[in-house]
Symmetry: C2
Subunit: 140 residues, 2 copies
DNA sequence: GTAGAAGTTGGAGCGCGCTCGAAGTCAAGC
DNA sequence: GCTTGACTTCGAGCGCGCTCCAACTTCTAC
């Protein structure tokens, strides 16, 4: 069952896979976000395991929802500590989730005001046929 | 019809009304986000008109959807320039709107991954009856 | 008049999350 | 051997959006 070859990847492979830069990957590691120091080749070049990469992908989801580095660090610390603190991990994630949902709602609320403004400008554009070329807008 | 008394407000009133700090209000003004320099009392204290306040409120909506100061400045410059550039204002707002919608979708997508993680931890919590007090979680 | 609160300016400082530069190491190809 | 290029470390730098400080003026209450 050695079919899943699980090739260890270099930092630029992982950068490409995750959408982060190599700089950022090193930064995350320095910041203590990795579960364990990333493995090294004899040349001291980093060699990421599949698990490392999956973890980094999770980090990108957390960052992508605005979780601060400091809090991701807390979560990583909990996971690194091993079994027994699952409730605290869950609480941390749920708190984050609630915060994100709140932010989403607020952004939507603010966006509605902007939508209204847009609607006003559209009406305004209808009233005045406008200067030449008003129709070359991209109707995206 | 002079019933709308339109009292001019001091900076701390406006801070309270808008949720910004007085510091931030001054900062926005310095950054060129106001349509015109805010009026002053004889004492050189700022006196915000209703229009000023409405504009600041709009600024908070733009900021609240993540529009950078630099771009808000562009929008303010257009409005300040007066009639004739409504299309550019509209385009600016629509671009922003599209960007925000994209970001919302991506945050939601990332959040789904986190939700999945949360679900896993919840199952995990069910399997092991866990240490005392595991049921005092808020069932939000 | 006088104390204390609240406003003014200009510029410095901060927290965040990267981002970059410099100098060095290592492996592969010519 | 030598070059090229991808990697390493450490620390500095940056862009953003505030946030605060210091020194000063002015309003308000007593």
């Amino acid at each position: 069952m050695a079919t899943t070859a699980t090739a260890l990847r270099g930092i630029s492979d992982v950068a490409e896979e995750t959408g982060l830069t190599a700089h950022t990957l090193r930064y995350y590691e320095r910041a203590g976000l990795m579960l364990e120091p990333v493995g090294r080749a004899s040349s001291s070049h980093r060699r990421y395991s599949d698990g490392d990469v999956r973890w980094v992908v999770l980090l990108t989801k957390l960052r992508g929802t605005g979780m601060p580095i400091r809090q991701i660090k807390q979560y990583a610390d909990l996971v690194r500590a091993g079994a027994g603190n699952e409730e605290r991990r869950l609480a941390l994630l749920e708190e984050h989730r609630a915060r994100v949902l709140g932010q989403l709602r607020e952004v939507e609320r603010n966006l509605q005001a902007i939508d209204h403004k847009i609607a006003v400008y559209r009406e305004c554009a209808l009233e005045r046929p406008a200067a030449a070329g008003s129709d070359q807008r991209n109707a995206a």
